[in-house]
Symmetry: D2
């Protein structure tokens, strides 16, 4: 069977359901749909080990906010998207204590630049509170770390983050990364939040490389933006839809081995959505209006 | 019938041949295969109006150099690729007179940045020869123009180039642009040279916008690098291969309207191949070894 | 005598006045001081040939707007600075007809990047009006040209601009460039407007290289921002102030030949002031509020 | 008395000697001059507490390599400069064990970008040796960390480095930073090596912020490139030279408070010299020829 690639819990659940053999109910997984600020939100809770095995992801909550209409640019779209992402994240994270925001990924590769770009829009306050405690009394301490990539640092992201966490003792970590989706329509149009941590660079089963409560000793929240579709996965979906069975993984992979599908204007879309996420993080962590964020970040 | 998109004459010919109805010979088109520096080269000559209509491209010669093995990085691969591109271009262009190199496309959008990136590696000599004629006696005058994109200039590339050509009177123009291919395997792995000029931004039938001998009054040579596959074209090819007929253009286009397929490491590939093309242009225009280009461009 | 360098008419007048020999009145030059939006404005009018010779600049009006307090960042400072620059420029330029904005200088050298950076904030409308005349009926056609620098183009800025003007026929040209001041206090803190055109790269007496009504056939307005002080000029001023006479030009120049004095945070200051100038140009040319410019440029 | 600013031990010694009151010998400091690869090298050893107090720097060795002639670009200048820097650094650092290279400073501010730019030219090998120990048997493990700046991280460079050192246990640290010189002639023309560690951002007496053997638990070597002259220091030097006494610090500082003197082409000079330093570090740490570094870094 062709192994379709996705980093979204929502899609992992869809894939489970699509498989012809599934006549039984998917137990250990609960899914609910709501709306916020006009944007549809799907919540997938993986409740136990059966759920973990079925979806291939750790227990916890995964929220997917569908910002597709973001790109239709109605009035207030930016503010509404920030509130939708920010208010959900606020419900997940502890209400107090210093936060460390991690920008994962490669600033020099557009589809992988979500983490470093988001970092540009996060209000960095830890040093200000430390230097001028009275002046910044109303702020929560936030620091930011851009891990870079292994090829230019020689250090695993998880190693570098562990060292920093041990030194500055945040109460929580928020890790931001680019994801792969299965559906073209979700690329640069959805945001996934989870309370389960993250395995940088599309989980390769290396437990030491995970950023989660177990490895860091503090709760780790993940914010992911799908920026690509694996070309072979897209091809397999198309062929299935057209009634073709017997899809050879080997053949599809050989042809499109290292290919991805992205929007033509991915540079602009990644930049815009990263700003939504950065402001959403500020919304979750600080008690500020968007105008105030604009003023502080300019 | 689904309308597959390609900017390569080689692929336009393939598409013609694949069409079921073609029982007749393709007249007005000649194709030949050779090798240079170990790289396969396909030459498609469009000889008359029948050829023009069949392939949807103007009369002239189109050479496609297959650098796939470039990425296997054997010894001397860069030098060999430069010589393969440069020596073919040298055979096309007039042996004397000042040259103007045009970098078309958007430096801020990676798959469209081939033109501006190539411009970085072209030896600019016109001002040096003018200021120090004796010192630079051995060089051919070369100037470079980056057109930028309509959204940030308000001026069509063709208008700006016409104005410049009328002012500085080059003997020939070489225009460099990104192309769309139909095959994943050709993306960032082939270079197309032609003596027919170019219509910037994938020919929209706007005659005024063409850069060619007719609109500029001097011979115009085009150097194109495919950097993307139209996602809908890729999908249609896959479905056909799998035996699916009756492919609905509407459906494919709606889903992947603005999607493209690119290599995951497109930033690096576009940068490396643009350097090959820039050096290849130097090879065609100047009497220099690659080491000498390195020294002059550092 | 040491030859002090400045591109500001205001300072050329100061230098004339400081020279010990001047016992006579400076005839052919008129200077007046006003305020706008709280910012001091000095207007120097060079009225005839005597004025031209005394100040070494062509006849015409030169306005210097002192934005020093810009950096004190009072409420509305950005809006006030835009209005101060924009409303003065609006009084200089013709009320109708298409405009071409020229960004002179080197985007890769911070103190010389004022032109290209300003270009980023200019509303480009010519292509929109042409494509959708009804939709953009209220806008004035504006196009933008970044000349780049001789070393990377091989073409003099003036040649390239002449070619473009002949092709697209603007009613006026606004050229933006970095200037040298004599006073540290004016660096990144003042804007000079003039109706006399400009000689790119600090006037070298090459008449063909001038951008003015004579060479382009349309009125040319210059907007300049001082970003550096010539280090030798600063030194000479300091020594004079300290009572040292007999300053050897040779000695000062040998030491600091290619040195300049700039603010430590020049990257940020140049970026911020270029945005003021870009928006000021929009203010002068379009009938828009600053909020509307923000929306159109985002 | 005016307080002249310098980060070079060489200049701290000059300043001590110039002071009129010094009739005694400077004890606790030893200076020697040699040449390497044709470049003059000055070594200042601070031997004890008297030396520390006189020069305001910690005990240890400081080597200043004068690359002025680097810019004359004789044959092999790059190779010779790399060997001059690299061979001296090799003599300072331990012969074995993993190294961590720290790029201090702000990549977005040219005169402060020496650290991050150097990091681009350092061979990063730690992850390769770990993944393919046999293939990379001949290499020394090297990792690289770019600290960023406080305003965008919220974390002191020293905190972040301490955390990383505790996690990955290097045998030595090499920290690269931009310096301030007192002499225009030394800017972008000299390299200072020392075995004393470094206080990021021009020593403010904050002991916790130092990167040295005491705070990190491993030997710390510093590589510094002067990229600016403090404008007030330059002015004071000029006035003294001209015989002016009684220089008011207040007055000079008020005028040029935040001004610096740099070369006009600082972007290019900082880039070129950072590459020399990066390759010099490779020379000191790896057993490679420059050609091999080129191949591995391309």
């Amino acid at each position: 069977m062709f192994n379709k690639r996705t980093d979204l819990a929502l899609e992992a659940r869809e894939l489970w359901q699509e498989t012809a053999e599934r006549t039984t109910r998917l137990s250990g997984v609960k899914a609910t749909k709501t709306k916020r600020e006009g944007y549809p939100v799907t919540r997938v809770d993986i409740l136990d080990e059966r759920g973990e095995q079925a979806l291939g992801k750790p227990q916890g909550s995964y929220l997917t906010i569908d910002l597709t209409t973001f790109w239709q640019r109605k009035a207030d779209f930016f503010e509404r998207a920030v509130r939708a992402v920010g208010s959900h994240l606020k419900e997940l994270v502890p209400a107090e204590g210093p936060a460390l925001v991690i920008g994962l990924g490669n600033a020099a590769m557009t589809p992988d630049a979500v983490g470093p770009l988001t970092a540009e829009s996060v209000l960095v306050t830890r040093h200000l509170i430390s230097a001028m405690p009275k002046h910044f009394a109303g702020f929560r301490p936030v620091s930011v770390f851009r891990t870079g990539v292994l090829g230019t640092t020689g250090v695993e992201s998880a190693e570098a983050v562990r060292g920093l966490v041990a030194e500055i003792h945040p109460a929580l970590v928020i890790a931001v990364d680019a994801l792969a989706s299965r559906r073209v329509g979700r690329v640069c149009a959805t945001v996934q939040l989870s309370d389960t941590g993250i395995i940088p660079g599309s989980g390769v089963g290396n437990h030491r490389s995970a950023l989660n409560a177990e490895t860091l000793g503090v709760p780790v929240f993940a914010v992911g933006i799908p920026t690509v579709v694996d070309a072979a996965t897209l091809a397999a979906d198309l062929l299935e839809e057209a009634g073709v069975e017997d899809i050879s993984e080997e053949k599809l992979r050989s042809a499109e081995a290292s290919m991805m599908v992205t929007p033509r204007d991915i540079d602009a879309q990644v930049r815009d959505l990263s700003k939504v996420v950065g402001y959403g993080i500020n919304w979750a962590l600080q008690d500020l209006e968007i105008d105030e964020m604009n003023a502080l970040l300019s």
